[in-house]
Amino acid sequence: MFSKKVIGFQGLFVFLCLLTIMAGQAVAAEYWLQVGAANKTMADGSRVPVWGFGLDPDKNLTTADGAISVPGPTLRVAPDDNVLIIHLKNNLSEPVSLNILGQRLTNNSGPVWTNFPADTETWIGARPAGNYTARVRSFTHETQPGQVGEYRWESFRPGTYLLQSGTNPAKQVQMGMFLPVIKDTAQGFAYADVPYNFELIVIFHEIDPTIQNAIAAGTYGAVPNATIGSSVLYEPKYFLMNGMSYPDKGLLSINGTEPLFQGERLLIRFLNAGLETHVPQLLGLYMTLWSEDGNRLQYPRQEYGFELATGKTADVIVVSPKNPPWHYPLYDGKLNLTNNGAYPGGMFSYIRSSVPEHLGAETVQ
């Protein structure tokens, strides 16, 4: 059925909120994740191998380990939580690790270097003295295939963050090992003075099927039978927002089916999990940019678009200009509007303000 398909963000958000509420007053956000291989169906029907994260619903990482999605599931740290703990089961056949740009991994027992390209020797914690040829494989401690590793971030700072694999990132992050991690400063507040009514997460990334197929087949990298040695000639064919390309239905109303009444505030958390810069652009409205990489700006900026570099996150507020219904295009200003050469496609969506009685009548353009 949908065991390997993308999980909609709305459903996941509600599910996690319920989990948090049921857990009571927590001091740590704790998750059980698996990472494994799957196949992803593109908007034009073709399938590409991916490696991605999945939440393990029964938290034991021994029975069925949870559906994999690219992007991975959203993890949340409650406003009064200081600690994020992830138990990671590695269902791939190579070591993995975790890294959150901008947060400190408190129990880091890595990094891990190897004698590239043979990878027959490893050194952990420090580069061997006088050795200038060893190359890092993992920024943080590794979880070997079939094993479960624990990753703890203490003093977790508020904001929107990107969690990625910390192992050979050009390969593993490219394959899909990334997910958003979010912490508010208070219920309904992205930052101390930045309230919001609704939240939308928008993750940009791209897929080069030739490279991803080679990675899945084991013919990528510094290996004897490599067809592709590195990603330097990366040429993506698919361009995705939240794992979908236009005209995937989820992009026709990327923020779901909420009514946004006049004056209400939509918080959009942008993340660039791809290998290329993108330009989130809104047609018809201005956004107020409040933070970059989880750091609240001293002075917010009014823009209708901005540069979102690789690995970067940005939180913006869009104020609903009128009562529903309305819709505005939200897309990549670099005009990556193609699905493997076919138009229309790529990074194009609408944000909408809907009310139930309008849903059936809404024409989709």
């Binding site: 652009q281 209708y304 901005f306 005009l335």
Partner: protein, 441 residues
């Protein structure tokens, strides 16, 4: 060293004629465009010339004048100059070749009402001719009221990756409705604040082309067009490559590329640079000579609070043009603190306007190599001094008769300083700071 005497003044004036023949003139201080509140545009196909001697098919917005005559498509589209708070109406019809698609315009930063045409992805679109559109479907009317002055762009909302690449974009300038509080009615302001004052303005609208895409369009090989392989090899400022952008506006030999890029100014003046990323690539533009101040982005002053003016302005010599975004920069030059007299004055000579007095009369600090030890650039006057002139080797074109200071304003992705594999080309332009006595209109 060459020192200029009082005769230079007369020589300079006499040589202006020769100079003006080469460099663009006409409205040096302002931007060429169409002013008004009602515009009739037509999307059409035509041809442009690139500085490597090639020509390429483009799609551009052509203008229908009051008499109902439509001109040729232009690259970029016409610069539309409107007034804050005055409603703007733009009609668009579609004369693109069959199967090119519908035509439309989107106006980032503005709340637009579109009527007529057919529903499109981003807005209403004027239907293709071969689909036998009704009169209502043939034309779209876009109306909006610009509520904030500033620099904006417009571009196609139909199959935007292809149509923007083909040239369907242009600049939109919104002038303030009134003089800002505390301002001088005789001065020019970009925004509703006195700190947005300027003396001259210039447009820097950046775009690029991939010749393969344009050839496929020309051959109507629609199913071969593949933007995942996009690789531009031609880059344009205001629709022209270097050195074509040095020529005047509206030269007859570039009929579909009316706009030049040839800023000139005097020391101490303020130049407003309206900087637009109209294409799909980012271009880091580097400005030799001095820092600029970025005062606005996307038509909004960089302001800590409403009414505070550009108090968050930042300065640098390089800024990236972001696709679909705009910025406003203010640039000036005085040559202060160079450590030597830029005019080659004797101490008893009078000061020029904005001259840095502590350096007045200070001698030139080094011995320049003899003429046969160096290559004289085409824009070297023969003298290191502003307004100066000196002996030039035989065969030198003498292209800087007024002794101006030339600064290259160019992309720092230097690959883009070529036109389809030919150096020089692409994103090279020159600011000329002229001696205060040299007239620039």
């Amino acid at each position: 060293m060459d020192r200029i005497g009082k005769q230079h003044h007369i020589r300079v004036v006499l040589l202006i004629g020769a100079l003006l023949l080469f460099f663009g003139t006409g409205a040096q201080g302002a931007i060429v465009g169409i002013s008004g509140n009602s515009f009739n545009l037509v999307a059409k196909q035509d041809v442009i010339v690139t500085s490597d001697g090639d020509s390429t098919i483009i799609w551009g917005y052509a203008v229908t004048n009051a008499g109902g005559e439509t001109g040729r498509a232009q690259y970029p589209g016409p610069t539309l100059i409107v007034i804050e708070d005055v409603p703007v109406t733009i009609t668009l019809s579609n004369e693109l070749p069959n199967e090119s698609g519908n035509a439309s315009i989107v106006f980032p930063g503005h709340q637009v009402t579109a009527t007529g045409g057919v529903d499109g992805l981003m807005t209403q679109e004027a239907r293709q001719a071969h689909l036998k559109p009704t009169n209502a479907e043939k034309q779209v009317t876009y109306t909006f009221t610009p509520t904030e002055p500033g620099t904006y762009l417009y571009r196609s909302g139909t199959r935007a990756d292809l149509q923007v690449e083909m040239g369907l974009f242009g600049a939109l300038i919104v002038r303030p409705a009134a003089t800002p509080a505390g301002g001088d009615p005789a001065k020019k302001y970009a925004y509703n604040h006195v700190d947005s004052e300027y003396d001259r303005e210039v447009l820097y609208l950046m775009s690029e082309t991939d010749p393969i895409i344009h050839r496929q369009v020309e051959e109507r090989q629609w199913n071969l067009i593949d933007f995942t392989k996009y690789f531009p090899t031609n880059w344009f400022i205001n629709g022209r490559n270097y050195p074509d952008l040095l020529a005047e506006n509206n030269v007859p030999w570039l009929p579909t590329q009316p706009y030049n890029c040839q800023p000139r100014m005097h020391p101490g003046e303020k130049l407003l640079i309206r900087f637009i990323g109209a294409g799909r690539q980012t271009h880091p533009m580097h400005f030799h000579g001095n820092d600029f101040e970025t005062i606005a982005a996307d038509g909004r002053l960089l302001s800590s609070a409403p009414g505070a003016g550009p108090d968050l302005a930042w300065q640098a010599t390089t800024i990236k043009s972001i696709p679909g975004q705009t910025a406003d920069l203010v640039w000036g030059w005085t040559g202060k603190e160079l450590g030597w007299d830029i005019y080659g004055h004797s101490p008893e000579d009078p000061l020029e306007p904005y001259e840095y007095a502590p350096n007045h009369g200070k001698p030139f600090p080094v011995v320049l190599p003899p003429r046969d030890a160096v290559t004289y650039g085409a824009f070297y006057s023969g003298s290191p001094f502003l307004g100066g002139e000196g002996e030039l080797p035989p065969g030198h074109g003498g292209l800087n008769a007024a002794g101006g200071y030339f600064y290259m304003w160019h992309s720092h992705t230097e690959k883009e300083l070529t036109s389809n594999d030919i150096w020089p080309g692409g994103l090279i332009s020159f600011m000329i700071v002229e001696h205060p006595d040299v007239p620039i209109d």
